[in-house]
């Protein structure tokens, strides 16, 4: 009778059981699978677009015919110093070349004598290519005149090559800034999406248990903190899996397509994203759970989670617009240290390379401190409010 002790349920097993249920039941849902696929498709679309634009802009095919054929290699080299990739092709006749240009097979056809070049294009000549061709023509004329004056063109060219302006940049621009900005904003978006989405899921889960009264059955055998911890860890793990899948897909795509000049950047971006997802989720999850515990009907969930969603949205919108304008913005720097905003802004700044180590460290410490406070406070509200069904529980009553 009362002396027989049933098989024990230690707190860890309780948390594990709750967490496992949350994880399994959510990973299987269609919305999770579709959400993940949509985001990967968006990243893939972005990467492919970039690759496409890249190949469009930077690789010109130039045909050479007649005497101009000798200028193929010099053009390629000159264009390269101007940051332009040129593919050269020898064309047997002017007519054939013109046909190729008309069909779009060639971007430009160069013909005529080296000192009187003619370029045939479909509509307009690309500016860097024009500059490169002009430079070559001028070089040809210069060489001829130097030779006439009895100088060795090669020697003169050598001397000229040695003379350059020395550039002393006070704030050196990062050659990968554009890419970094793109990746940084993508991380900000991903974190915004995950924190808002999985945070809301925590609140909905709490309300679902309250609305269906299953919480009464559960709390007869597990303690509120065990239920809350299991729920947060379970849903958090679902979000983590999604971020890892998306991160791996993004990094894989980026390195497979050369869209990033430094592929390792993708991996450090994923690492920063994962770190801040974990901190951000822990920061927000108890707030969402506590908010959810105040109401008893699914229809009321939206009204209690919206203040928290608003904070996440502010971090995202402010961060997105300010960072895109000026990554070194001091407003963003300050915001990225404040716990509620840090999970979205700090990883973007880390990826942009504008966050000094001390700021990263400080923001992590502040976030951890805030997590401690919010878990304590949120756990208290949750434990007090989760069994009160009926009207919305006042925050003041829940804190008592």
């Amino acid at each position: 009778m009362s002396t027989t002790t049933p098989p024990g349920l230690n707190p860890y097993r309780a948390v594990l059981l709750v967490g496992r249920r949350e994880f399994v039941s959510r990973v299987r849902t269609r919305s999770f699978v579709i959400g993940t696929i949509v985001i990967i498709a968006m990243i893939a679309g972005y990467v492919l677009l970039q690759t496409f634009l890249f190949s469009q802009n930077n690789k010109d095919r130039v045909g050479f015919t007649g005497q101009a054929t000798v200028l193929g290699q010099p053009l390629k080299q000159t264009a390269e110093t101007l940051g332009k990739q040129v593919e050269i092709q020898d064309v047997t006749s002017l007519d054939q070349g013109e046909t190729l240009v008309r069909d779009g097979e060639l971007d430009a056809l160069v013909s005529g004598a080296p000192d009187a070049l003619r370029v045939t294009v479909k509509d307009d000549l690309d500016e860097p290519l024009r500059a490169a061709l002009n430079a070559i023509v001028q070089q040809q004329v210069l060489d001829a005149q130097l030779a006439e004056a009895g100088l060795d063109p090669r020697q003169v060219r050598q001397n000229m090559a040695d003379v350059k302006v020395e550039v002393n940049s006070l704030e050196p621009a990062d050659p990968q800034r554009g890419e970094r900005l793109a990746v940084g904003l993508m991380i900000a978006f991903l974190l915004y999406f995950s924190l808002a989405g999985f945070g809301t899921m925590v609140a909905q889960g709490v309300v679902e248990e309250k609305a269906s009264r299953v919480v009464e059955v559960l709390l007869a055998t597990v303690r509120p903190w065990q239920l809350l911890t299991g729920k947060i860890l379970g849903i958090g793990a679902v979000g983590l899996v999604q971020i890892l899948i998306i991160g791996a897909a993004g990094a894989g795509l980026a390195s497979a397509t050369d869209v990033l000049t430094v592929p390792s950047m993708a991996f450090s971006a994923v690492a920063a994203g994962v770190l801040w997802y974990l901190l951000g989720f822990l920061l927000y999850a108890t707030v969402f759970a506590a908010s959810g515990s105040l109401v008893s009907r699914q229809e009321d969930t939206q009204s209690v989670v919206s203040p928290t969603l608003m904070v996440i949205m502010i971090a995202f919108v402010a961060g997105f617009s300010l960072l895109a304008q000026d990554p070194t913005s001091s407003t963003v720097a300050v915001m990225s240290l404040i716990p509620p905003f840090a999970p979205i802004l700090m990883p973007s700044r880390m990826v942009l390379g504008v966050a000094p180590a001390w700021q990263v460290g400080l923001s992590v410490v502040l976030a951890l401190a805030a997590i401690g406070v919010l878990i304590w406070l949120g756990g208290r509200i949750y434990a007090n409010a989760v069994l009160r069904t009926g009207a919305r529980v006042k925050l003041r009553d829940a804190l008592r």
Binding site: S2, P6, P7, R21, S212, V214, E216, L219, A220, T221
Partner: protein
């Protein structure tokens, strides 16, 4: 003595100025089916929620086997909340296994027990369906399985019979009888008084947060005096005047219902009846639980008038 006994010892609960429970007290012994009846809002659900620790009492104590019910003992109670508590989107079997495991059963035992109850309650075809896709009656069966799956030592069921079809009522009754026979104290609330009367060993009637009557149906009957039905066609009105301890409850044509105070002599009434002429009917009336209950409710409105 206290072994296997669930004792609800003078628990009280107020919500602001409203008294939900006042010194609610009763015991349920091992192997006993205890029916908990009362009007809506009388305090049945509040009492059960307090037993389960879902709600905290302002004062009083709930004991199981002589020990105050705490967190660890609560795990051994099987509970069926009034508004049902299941995950709507979880499959029947998964749900039962999960609840069994949460109550401390190892995984394989939980699965075995869940399968047993699914089969026992006729849910085998629905074991892989989501709970929300089941009919209300079937959801109720799952709910009962959820209360039983961890092999509880006490059962506390809030309205287990509401919304069940007659077949399901029989299944539920049989399961509850079995559990009681196995030594489990079973408490359940219900508005189906005929069912409670048939099924329960003892009954408690609650009114305004207090237990107003508690005992076997026979105990409850003896409390209220005896009623006699007498059909005397030739009697004049007032033929019972002068008989000690007799009051007329109602007269319908030649048929009278008389109330005999405790200790009154029914043979004296019979003699008086025979003195008026032929007696077509003379019987002791056994009030049903419904009538007893109605008495209590009538008393309630009487109390209020005072």
């Amino acid at each position: 003595m206290a072994e296997g006994v669930l004792e609800i010892d003078r628990i009280s609960k107020r919500y602001g100025s409203t008294v939900a429970l006042q010194d609610m007290a009763f015991t349920v012994r091992a192997g006993e089916l205890f029916g908990f009846v009362g009007s809506n809002g009388a305090g049945k659900t509040t009492t059960m929620r307090i037993v389960l620790g879902v709600l905290a009492a302002d004062s009083g104590e709930v004991r199981w086997g002589g020990q105050p019910v705490g967190f660890e003992t609560r795990r051994r109670i099987g509970y069926m909340p009034e508004e049902r508590g299941l995950y709507p989107k979880m499959k029947v079997l998964d749900q039962l296994v999960y609840l069994a495991e949460l109550h401390g059963m190892p995984a394989n035992q939980a699965l075995r027990s869940a399968e047993t109850w699914v089969a026992r309650l006729g849910l085998r075809d629905r074991r892989d369906d989501e709970v929300q896709k089941l009919s209300l009656g079937n959801q109720q069966r799952v709910q009962l399985a959820a209360a039983l799956v961890h092999e509880p030592e006490v059962l506390v069921l809030d309205e287990p019979f509401s919304g069940l079809d007659p077949v399901a009522v029989d299944v539920m009754s049989e399961v509850l009888r079995e559990q009681a026979a196995a030594g489990v104290p079973v408490v359940f609330s219900s508005h189906q008084l005929d069912l409670v009367e048939r099924l329960c060993h003892r009954i408690g009637i609650v009114r305004n947060g207090q237990m107003v009557a508690c005992g076997t149906v026979d105990d409850l009957r003896t409390g209220g005096g005896t009623r006699l039905v007498v059909d005397v066609p030739n009697a004049r009105p007032g033929w019972t005047d002068g008989l000690p301890g007799v009051t007329v409850v109602s007269v319908d044509g030649t048929r009278s219902v008389l109330e005999l105070a405790a200790g009154g002599d029914d043979q004296a009434v019979l003699n008086a009846a025979l003195a008026t002429g032929p007696v077509r009917e003379f019987s002791r009336h056994q009030p049903s639980l419904t009538e007893l209950f109605r008495n209590v409710v009538t008393q309630e409105s009487g109390d209020k008038a005072v």
